[in-house]
């Protein structure tokens, strides 16, 4: 990563912070509470980026992803997904360790070495066939486990919904991913492109489902992102109604 791209990143962060600081907080007590609860001080700018992302999804990503889904046989697509998952494993190993989740760290390390060798570069997910699949971890989740608040909601160009915490996490994930430093720019772009097409092909129907009948698709995406992220931070144990809460016992 060059010095100039780091400076660009810092400039973007500074603009975001300035915009958050300048956001107008309503005086009305009810509106004030809702504003704080929603935690989306950049909403007008976020909506603009969101509209761009949706247009990009509809006109560029979806046609490619659907062609990929409809014309590439499932075993090949499964292999591609496995390779991409395996390439993300070093980030999971690091962050599982940072969170003190040494079981997941050991499992991810084992998966990475088995799949990279016997699994032919991750094409075959051998441990998953025996029922073992480590949870995906990233630095945004690590920050949450360390107690950092999620910060304001953000919509990133192409990457979509995020928060200040997850955006910082995404930057750290890129910096701490060994492949960032090992791959040539051409291979890096290929990997990122494949990742986006693969995830769009897998999630296309769910996105359509959320969109169907949404009163405000931007707000729906914002709340679904936050709820799904909370579930990931809780290691996939979603308990919105307190079924497992033992504090009242």
């Amino acid at each position: 990563m060059s010095m100039s791209s780091m400076m660009r990143g810092s400039a973007v962060a500074a603009v975001v912070l300035l915009a958050v600081a300048c956001a107008e907080v309503p005086d009305d007590p009810l509106e004030h509470d809702v504003f704080l609860e929603t935690n989306d001080p950049l909403e007008p700018a976020n909506r603009t980026v969101f509209d761009f992302d949706v247009a990009f999804l509809d006109h560029a990503l979806s046609p490619v992803a659907l062609a990929y889904r409809d014309h590439v046989p499932e075993p090949v697509r499964g292999g591609v997904s496995n390779v991409l998952d395996n390439l993300q494993m070093p980030v999971t190993i690091l962050n599982s360790g940072l969170q003190g989740d040494f079981d997941n760290m050991a499992g991810a390390t084992m998966s990475f070495f088995i799949n990279s060798t016997a699994g032919i570069g991750g094409l075959f997910d051998i441990p998953a066939n025996s029922g073992w699949k480590p949870r995906r971890e990233d630095f945004g989740q690590t920050l949450a486990v360390w107690g950092f608040a999620e910060g304001p909601y953000l919509v990133l160009p192409v990457a979509g919904p995020s928060t200040a915490r997850d955006t910082v996490g995404l930057g750290v994930d890129i910096l701490t991913d060994p492949l960032t430093w090992l791959l040539t720019p051409g291979w890096s772009y290929l990997r990122s492109g494949a990742d986006v097409i693969d995830s769009t092909a897998r999630e296309h129907d769910r996105i359509d489902e959320a969109r169907m009948g949404a009163i405000d698709f931007y707000a729906t995406t914002r709340t679904l992102y936050r709820q799904a992220r909370a579930r990931e931070i809780a290691n996939g144990v979603a308990d919105p109604f307190g079924l497992d809460d033992s504090s009242e016992e």
Binding site: L30, E31, V34, M212, D216, Q227, G236, A238, P240
Partner: protein, 201 residues
Amino acid sequence: MGRHVWQRIAPALFVSAFLWSPASAGSLEEATDFVAQRAERLLDIMTLPPGPERRDAFARWIASTVDHDGMANRALGRYLDVATNAELRAYTVAFHNYIIITYERRLETFSGYSLKVERSRALDDNDVVVRTTIWAPDGGRTTVDFRIGNDNGGPWRLTDFAIEGLSMVKTLRDEFAGVIRRDGIEGLTALIESNVAESAL
């Protein structure tokens, strides 16, 4: 995302639930049975082909299963306190139609699925959470939590549900808040009505 294999709810769970729960074991069992029966019925309805017959069946299911007025109120969140009676009446009617039209289509994903009750817990005398696993024909699993209540000792009614941890009422409340801030409750009602009219075509 990690998933777990859970066993069918055991009588022991009811006993342990009784030990710490403020509700009686009988009412917890009754609430759990209510969820199992109504969820099974919903899965049956979703096997019908799309059309007026399925929509009518779903509307009847909503009427006999869901606390739609309470759900509508909770979806307004903090704005419930400032809604006028006229606004609330119009909004509640629109909300009811919206739930039927939108969720009939969203839930058709579960056509051909089967259900297993995993466990349940009484949060208080009138508030019970039941966790279920919905099984796809290909073996895929989805966790669905049902929250039910029986205010004033009336019949049990569904007050919320969460698919893989995503709560329906919370999602609607967050979605509606932005619209109300911009256009008020009347604006939200108009938007829901136009959405229903568009979806019903």
